[in-house]
Point group: C2
């Protein structure tokens, strides 16, 4: 969950390293650091906190060096501090490394190295790597790196520089993302594509179990035995400018406002050809007798929605399980199983591990992701892409709503594959076509939600309640609020309130309730009245026809099929979270402790 | 969720009414009231808050009246106030009623009555009943009551007194509990058995769709058409003294300490005969192709445990669904379905409704309850009883752990029915036998947990984390803490922390982590370290063999099979919740807003 950059070329290394770290800052920002390879010595700079601290430090002198590595950190082992920041250097300061991932056996390696007389500066798992390299290094860095990667358990994306190789960066990858880029005179490496796009469009994704040596204008890729392997280079056409705020205060706000457009884009191809979904051709449903949706965080909420829809339409066991539970759970996975993975980045570590597990057990695998060529996309049997474009804000908005509409399409398609036809298909397609407009109407209500948000500015807690599909929406609404505003938000099934949680309701506690599902809305209203009877202030999101007499803070979603009402409702909940965070002065795009793409467990 | 008492007899009514309300106070205590039938007029007394307020009011004079009704209220419609308290009286003060339940169509009835010129004193749904009775009453109360119950939608347990019938109480029941009791000279009615046990052991449970007329020494039961029906009277032998604190500060503490004994009692019969479970004879598993566990609150957590166990042992779709979601969800329920319901009281409204729905759809039904002759027990095809004894504290402790062990036995039994034998059966039975002792060891650690509890005394929030079975334990731990101490506690799958909730972790935030499952404990430790890196204080509950180096607040559970470690672990979490509440001076046995038996939706 850290970000890495590296450069070997004919230009000055630092500008690339820093702009790359800036683009990767969404991956973590507890601390940052760089090592530059000067004439036979290494210069390492580190600073706690945001990247600007590091920049200030570097501004003190010129940095003409042509080789270097950089890192932005999200703390896994050890508190955020200078000491624990990357790069880590050996005692003689001849080797320096940056690492992304978790070394699971670091304790035992550390013990061995301590016996060998090595001393440690930090509490991090990463530092063992540089000392192990030092231990094995006898003039041949490839040899040392090969030895090293064989001992490391866990995940790593690793960049190494060494005074004996002033023009080279050595890299190695296992279960943490790393991409390579090159021009005629330079070689680049980074954790994600946007970090290099200003410099090159020629990109290659390093695979698990591969190492590479970067030199000015050349990159050679090897396997962990040191044998050269061939690689596939792609030319990326999308524009790095997309990753700008375009007039909005924050990326989150910009991305919320892109939703009508990206939902339309995501739907376009599928609706035009009446859900033909050629991406799924080859999928044999005849022997499938169970379906798992597997995902984490926001994507897990999208998957719960897909589970609900599909259960409405087909009679098969359909499960939705958090990836971190799935991979260690006692679930039956076999050749009669279809596993569907959902991840914006396509790099979520637990989801990726769950995919590998499913493949080992011969399940058919299908991924829904937003990133072309991501690990999830490369490894799945079938892939569907959301067209949300790059999402920069850590709290997911447009990626989530595009997942919802794409999963609705997928469920309709699966229903017709399993059932040879769904009664409601045309109705649902027509309703899906209304979604961009429905979301647009919700965005027009931004000011009203900003007003409601004031109720929460001085609150430490918030309770979200709903039933059926409304419960799934409030799960996401509560997650959004806690992510960006640090309000301790909780979501409850409205019917469970009385079985305990209602003890927390006091005078002026804010309850956010959804009543968009006609079959249960009146029951939810009864539950809301019980909280109101205890002094709660209620923000009510309701359908057009719902009687909301007696409620002060009411907002209505457009008249859409109840199976889709979560889409406009979610946009309102995003706005609520956003404005609470703004009102409280939080850093909306980069909430504390969080990183965009969770590439460790 | 209110409590009702009524008396018609030769003695003074008030002592019975008040002692009964006291025994029922666990069902709600927002307000209380009584109506006594004097010589041709009604005397009604109401007081907001606890029952003692009402008693003070009544102490002002003598009350020799022989007929009366009483009520203790848990607010559903309208804030707790004198105005909204029961009994409700008609304008001429000739009819008075108490009601438990929810009248769903009260708004439309109210509208009609307003048109007829009736005026309303309260915001409650219940008040419509007394005015409707007044409207239909023309000298024959049975006629008026028959008319009334036909119009009422929702649930009700209803008692009526009227100046024209100074010796009578009229009662009616639909989907809210009501029991009758009698002696040669008196007739009693109440919401639950303990309320009458000091006066009589001869009890009869009124069924849905029945009315009754209570007179001194006689009770006649009718259906809603007014035709007499026969009833079954039971002689109850258990001693009302059981409902005393027996030397402990609170019922909750007493009930926690009863756990070794009641777990042993619950296991005894089943283990003695090697899980023969004659209660299930007749259960035909040959055509069952799916199993639902359905429950609310704490019992829902017990059901999640049973789902996990059964999934480990048999290959069938096994679902666990909150009753309030199940009854309105789009679940397939048919003759190939086994539905298992769990409820301490056997009267939980949503669970009962889910049972009725399952029966309508021809599912086989099995209930796990603590109360002999409860509605759930009467209506299910098969019943298993926990032997927890009466649980008085609102927060469930011994009922939960007895549910866990009984469900473990049930899962083993089902596994052998489905699979013709489970490899681990004898091992599991041996391990189950260790549970009373394991729980005893945890109770001996009470002081240590009391010490740890001090970390939480000044905290508004707490986060519980765990993976796999540990996640299910922390769900219950968090519920317990919020119920009794009002600390806003949340439970997360440890692997989901990084996908949002970790944003809430600050310096000194308290995280309670469970690491009792060897296959995932190390992963949980990694997640805990991430919270510690952000300044969290961690209370760690771990297995004997777990490395817990570096953690300050560690407590270990005995060496038991990981599938059962939730039982001792839960006891520690109960103690934690208890001591936080004690330290904060909360009313442990009667938390605010909560009621013991949730007999409304």
């Amino acid at each position: 969950m850290c970000g890495i950059t590296a450069y070997a070329g004919k230009e000055s290394a630092l500008p690339f390293l820093l702009q790359g770290l800036e683009k990767l800052e969404y991956r973590g920002y507890d601390s940052a650091g760089v090592t530059l390879v000067s004439n036979h010595h290494l210069e390492t700079y580190k600073a706690k906190g945001r990247l600007t601290n590091l920049k200030e430090l570097l501004n003190e002198k010129e940095h003409p060096e042509h080789t270097g590595i950089g890192h932005t950190r999200w703390a896994t082992h050890g508190v955020p501090s200078n000491m624990n920041s990357h790069p880590h250097t050996n005692e003689s300061e001849t080797i320096s490394i940056v690492h992304n991932g978790i070394i699971e056996n670091y304790a035992s390696i550390k013990e061995c190295l301590l016996e060998q007389g090595y001393t440690f500066q930090s509490q991090t798992d990463s530092e063992v790597i540089v000392h192990m390299l030092d231990y094995y290094y006898q003039g041949d860095m490839m040899y040392a790196l090969k030895k090293c990667v064989k001992y490391l358990q866990g995940s790593f994306a690793l960049c190494v520089v060494c005074t004996d190789y002033p023009d080279c960066v050595f890299v190695a990858k296992k279960e943490s993302p790393m991409i390579l880029g090159k021009t005629d005179t330079s070689a680049f490496c980074a954790s994600d594509i946007p970090a290099v796009l200003d410099y090159t469009k020629d990109i290659c994704a390093l695979e698990d179990g591969q190492m590479a040596v970067l030199r000015p204008g050349s990159i050679v890729v090897y396997d962990f035995f040191g044998d050269p392997v061939s690689t596939t280079w792609m030319h990326i056409s999308y524009d790095a400018c997309a990753a700008q705020k375009g007039g909005y205060d924050t990326f989150m706000q910009k991305e919320m406002h892109e939703q009508p457009y990206v939902i339309k884009e995501t739907l376009r191809a599928h609706i035009e050809n009446n859900l033909a979904m050629p991406e799924l051709s080859g999928l044999d449903v005849s022997k499938i007798n169970q379906i798992y949706y597997v995902a984490c965080g926001t994507a897990y909420h999208a998957s719960l929605y897909a589970q609900y829809l599909l259960r409405t339409w087909i009679d098969l066991p359909i499960y939705c399980i958090s990836a971190s539970e799935f991979r260690y759970g006692n679930y039956r996975i076999d050749e009669n199983t279809l596993c569907i993975f959902v991840s914006q980045s396509g790099e979520t570590a637990d989801t990726l591990a769950a995919l590998k597990l499913s493949k080992e057990n011969k399940a058919q695998t299908l991924s829904v992701t937003n990133v072309l060529g991501s690990s999830l996309a490369r490894l799945s049997d079938y892939v569907l892409y959301t067209c949300a474009g790059p999402e920069i804000a850590v709290a997911s908005t447009k990626a989530y709503t595009t997942q919802l509409v794409l999963l609705a399409c997928l469920c309709l398609k699966l229903a017709s594959l399993f059932n040879k036809g769904v009664v409601c298909k045309n109705h649902m397609i027509n309703q899906l076509k209304q979604m961009p407009d429905a979301v647009e109407q919700m965005l027009a209500q931004e000011e009203k939600m900003a007003e409601f948000a004031k109720l929460l500015t001085n609150q430490k807690d918030a309770y979200f309640i709903g039933r059926q599909l409304d419960y799934l929406s409030v799960l996401e609404g509560a997650l959004k609020l806690k992510e960006v505003s640090y309000v301790h938000a909780d979501a409850y099934m409205a019917g469970e309130l009385k079985h305990g949680p209602i003890a927390l309701i006091e005078k002026d506690t804010v309850v956010i309730a959804l009543a968009t599902q006609p079959s249960v809305a009146q029951k939810t209203i009864s539950n809301i009245l019980e909280t109101a009877a205890r002094g709660a202030k209620v923000i009510l999101i309701a359908s057009q026809s719902q009687n909301t007499e007696g409620f002060e803070y009411v907002i209505r979603i457009p008249d859409v099929d109840p199976l889709l009402s979560c889409i406009p409702a979610t946009v309102l909940l995003q706005e609520l979270a956003y404005y609470v965070a703004k009102e409280k002065g939080c850093d909306v795009d980069k909430p504390r402790n969080l990183a965009k793409s969770v590439t460790v467990e």
